[in-house]
Amino acid sequence: MKFLVNPGNFNKFADYVFLPVLISSIILFSIGLIFAFYLSPDDYQQGSTVRIMYVHVPSAWLALLTYAIMTLYSIAGLAFRIPFGFIINTAVAPIGAVFTLICIISGSLWGKPMWGTWWVWDARLTSVAILFIIYLIIIFMNLSFENRIVREKVVAIFVLVGSINLPIVKFSVDWWNTLHQPATISKLSKPSIDPSMMIPLIIMTFAFIMVGLVIAILRIKTEIISRKSNLI
């Protein structure tokens, strides 16, 4: 498991898995999209608008997962002095921002026909909007400091402070009355989704993870190389 903390090992590992990940992302995405658009049934309430969920839900999960990963690596970087944590932070932030943006846009597209509005300021939507802005601030911070050592540590501190938002996003639908529906799939209870819709959702989730991994591997490798050559 050294590739999780060591740039050299990561490079070797990345070379090893990159092609399989790329291929599986393409395959999973095509299967997932076919499932989502043609093979999955219409919902009893929403009709075929439910298909937006196959993009919306995975992107939302990945937006949160990306931030959680950044939080873990920030702790690793600050408390255990593992510089690879900072590399991950810089490389992964834009990916998370894009996932959050996809989540927001697809959510709005679903909300207009279903709820009757593009956007409301309930707890879930507000906290996701804040998550998006936090991602943007991280990206801007990465661009605006001259000194690399200061920059990466300050960004890590900011990531840690901003991680307060993470449980708020996740649990806002349980803690407060929101227009957004509560979680469909949780560990504790039986999912309230039919298997014929669950399968495409899972496939799409893995497809999103694979695409995220492809971009992340590329970005992390560039980051490692540019650090080695002291470009930044």
């Binding site: 049934p41 219409d42 919902d43 009893y44 309430q45 929403q46 009709g47 608008t49 439910v50 969920m53 026909p113 279903m114 709820w115 009757g116 509005t117 409301v120 300021w121 309930d122 707890a123 803690w175 407060w176 009355n177 929101t178 227009l179 529906q181 509560p182 979680a183 469909t184 309230s192 989704i193 039919d194 014929s196 819709m197």
Partner: protein, 146 residues
């Protein structure tokens, strides 16, 4: 006291403060930071005429009346209390009897709520249209509103 021990104590103190603060916030927000009120909460509050609020609940079964093509009358309920709502405008796709909805508007008098916006609230259940009929008989899909 060594520096290390001092540091550890500070960390524990910080965590304790944060934990108690989170509990304090959660305890107090449970009732107050809501996107909407439920009808039984409205019952307990004093009704202020013409103040904009949001009410959330189920559209009561057999309460929906179409007065004209764009003017509707229905009841919002949470099975303990219900409120009569009038609305002029376009209803969202998901809006139907037995389905959740959030309405924004103000009371025109003590009994009638005039909605300016109606949002349909979707629940966390997803199922194919084809098996809805089967399940309707067993009553599984008709979940009660909390």
């Amino acid at each position: 006291m060594s520096l290390r021990l001092q540091r550890l104590l500070f960390i524990l103190l910080t965590l304790a403060i944060i934990l108690s603060a989170v509990l304090l916030i959660l305890y107090n927000t449970r009732e107050n930071v809501s996107y909407f009120y439920t009808p039984s909460e409205i019952d307990k509050l004093d009704i202020v005429i013409n103040e904009t609020i949001r009410i959330g609940g189920f559209v009561e079964n057999d309460s929906f009346n179409k007065i004209s093509s764009s003017s509707f009358k229905f009841k919002i309920t949470d099975e303990k209390a219900s409120i009569l709502v009038t609305f002029n405008g376009i209803l969202p796709d998901l809006f139907r009897e037995g389905q959740g909805a959030v309405i924004e508007g103000a009371f025109v008098n003590n009994d009638i709520f005039n909605a300016t916006n109606v949002f349909a609230k979707h629940d966390e259940n997803y199922m194919p249209a084809s098996i809805k009929e089967d399940l309707k008989d067993t009553g599984y899909w008709n979940k009660k509103y909390k």
